[in-house]
Point group: C3
Chain length 346, copies 3
């Protein structure tokens, strides 16, 4: 795919400083670009690389454009504009409309003529696959699943009965949507399984990462609102609701019945307790334990940064004898007759 | 499915307060029930919803029944009784006995006539699938796998060679049972793979979550005892033993050769070191690091609850200069001639 | 498989103390060995079991050999020698050369005659499967994938377009290599997907665990160097580089663009921030948060060991009021006129 800078400028509303006839064929980093490459500058720390890049053109903002030796596409949000141009230069592999002869489609399923159903996929009764969907090889859609238009399922995605995915939603390989939630009633030292009769409703423009799991609701549905982005190996428990445009990084788990607000940014390896509520516009740093509700927007953390192990062991030892230190301070205060600030250990 | 309250009362040993001819068709939450719904009250925090629920009937205990405006099914353990009734109202989708024509079954495998083997599943040599098992589509059972009666494998479950699953055990989609354990012998800066020749033995009435992985033993078997419940995305290392009726929440990892006792409750995102032993009836709160053995029943934790990030940074800074604070206290004690409580930093 | 001790001694360069005609058939632990078993002693804590083992022969080092009542194979590195002998006694199940009739192989793919392609696997256009590879059932190799000689893919491994795996690399069941990285450009409260146009290059002699996910690069490739060992349920973000012979335990996540050095040992449940660099020969203890770069070899930790929950709650309460304790010490210092060591809270 080769595109002229003039065409890109018109199509993406950029101001072009340079030759409109110059062409780019692929994207590259500033450091490794060649004369057919388009690159971009969004993170200021890469700015020194502008001087030496061999890229044909760079997408950047007005402030950075001054010293740039290449053709320039000016954009207010260079990263977003780069993303759109990259999608033109590197289109997703095409998937021909039609059902692969080895796919197994139930008689009552409805597959739009423009949709693609890949090799060895299994589509259950009454499932609906809308216009221009791409269902990759080895996917399983159980009965009553509904895919909106332009949904893309990568490879061996499992979508359990009754789950709905909104338009343009993308599911990466190995994800499981609508498995049974983790619900058991304790009874005399054993567990009685609680049937999980809800489903999962996923909005439009959601992305779900590789091997991520989203459980079906116990009674009502688990809900992933529009525009949510979930990384790989995330666990979403039953009856969770994730608000619109929230992004969650890998290895995070959300326990059952917890609600996360809109436009939140959740780091990797975060754990959420169940039955809590997180406000809109909350940021949680990676590796934090969210054990109670959060009522307002802001940044929250319980991340303990590492140290060299010998230093760390001393820190932990002091942490564990902190009661002794408080006691020593109390005795000093007593001796000084200065008891006014004293606090009892609860 | 529609059932009369009289039939439910007889079948599940409840006292009925209300009309035995009244019928329910499905389950619902108290808040969202309609006139054909059965609901339940187990968590006291939902008690205020009793007054306004439109459910046909509610399962609850005698104490809560007083103010309930609906028909009532009295149960000592309302949640467990609800679970059993829900299974009647919402039966698992039926799976017709027989082997799907696209499944590949080795000549020496034995499939009970009442068992179901789904589309595109692969069953290896000498595998045994007992009465009334349901093997979902895209499952792979390698050679010498043995499924007890009434086992249910959801979609694309992988069971490696020689693994045994006890009666009524349920495995959710994407789980892998019997992959190679993580065993390598260090040798001059590289790793020599140690063959993993054990298998996995899973007891009866176990449930294994979506995309959870249980490794085969290095020499002897990894063992999951009866009644264990494992949530999604859990890692069980080689030669681990999980005791009967223990429940483990999502994203938890158990390192090799660790033994967990019976009836334990393990939170999500917990990490267990290898080669340790955990007593029966232990509770571990979510996000804890279990780095040494636990000899007795009790509740254990290393969960650090989060704070607003600015506050958190100050807490971490103080934690990291805790040695300085100890030193300041030591000097004050010295000045006060009060050295009796002094402790040296180890 | 039955082998004489004499043959094993010659083949693996061990000194034999005992009968060269004696034969072993399988491996076993010292505690549970029978008269046809070969066992080994590497961890000194099992040394007391030597006296009572019924093994036919034990692999151990010269120091431990003194009191051993069985035939002995002397090795400098008994665990590595045991590993090699175990591979002889317990060979991997054979896979006949050839393509299973139900596999779907694109016309332009090249499959070596000595390679095995399992049931229901799907091989894309221009993919290359080299000599003696074993591709298990239900694997999907997209277009332009390249497997070096002797690669083994277990069951339902997904390898996305353009990914390369080096010679002898092993991928366990359910792993996904080359899914899209987690890249989105923020724009007015929503996210624009950034096409992930790099691939993944995996070196020789790598092992990748069950359900582990390795994302393709955003522009350039994600790289796993030779000899790396990745356990189950690990997440490797886009453009990460993992150095040769590094081993990473289960449930660990590495955020995008982070570089990990050679010969590192990373515990389970560790989280790495993105865009950081870890030196060679670094050890990270399990459950640590690696939030910044590490410049030199050493052991690093942020693991907080657990306590009984009541004790833990008091420790956390003291941690959270640590500012108050500092203030109390400051007042004591003021009263004592001893202000020289005082520190302001930043």
């Amino acid at each position: 795919m080769s595109v002229s800078l003039g065409e890109l400028a018109v199509r993406f509303g950029c101001e072009l400083r340079g030759d409109p006839e110059a062409r780019v064929e692929h994207v590259a980093t500033l450091a490794n670009a060649d004369r057919t490459a388009l690159s971009f500058l969004a993170n200021p720390r890469y700015r020194p690389q502008l001087a030496t890049t061999r890229a044909a053109a760079v997408v950047l903002n007005a402030e950075a454009a001054a010293g740039c030796p290449t053709h320039v596409l000016l954009a207010e949000n260079p990263y977003a504009t780069y993303a759109r141009i990259a999608a033109v230069l590197h289109p997703s592999p095409a998937a021909a409309p039609g059902v692969h002869p080895t796919a197994l489609v139930a008689a009552s399923a409805r597959i739009a003529p423009s949709a693609h159903v890949g090799a060895l996929s299994v589509i259950g009764e009454r499932a609906v696959v809308a216009e221009r969907c791409v269902v990759g090889p080895h996917c399983v859609l159980e009965e009553d699943v509904r895919l909106g238009p332009d949904v893309r399922l990568a490879v061996r995605v499992t979508v359990h009965r009754g789950v709905e995915l909104g338009a343009r939603t993308v599911v990466q390989s190995g994800a499981v949507i609508g498995g049974d939630g983790f619900g058991y009633a304790p009874e005399r030292g054993t567990w009685v399984k609680v049937p999980q009769v809800g489903a999962v409703r996923v909005g439009a423009d959601v992305e779900i990462g590789c091997n991520t799991t989203i459980d079906r609701g116990a009674i009502e549905d688990t809900v992933i609102e529009e525009g949510v982005k979930l990384d790989n190996l995330i666990q979403i428990g039953h009856n969770v609701r994730v608000g619109a445009h929230t992004a969650i990084a890998a290895c995070t788990g959300v326990s059952g019945s917890t609600t996360i607000g809109k436009r939140c940014m959740i780091g990797g390896h975060v754990g959420f307790a169940g039955h809590i509520s997180i406000a809109d516009d909350v940021v949680i740093t990676g590796f934090s334990a969210v054990s109670r509700s959060i009522a307002g927007a802001g940044v929250y953390s319980s991340t303990l940064p590492f140290e060299e192990a010998h230093t760390w062991r001393r820190l932990v030892a002091r942490f564990k004898r902190s009661g002794l230190l408080e006691e020593r301070v109390r005795r000093l205060e007593g001796a000084a007759g200065n008891k006014s600030r004293q606090e009892e250990d609860p």
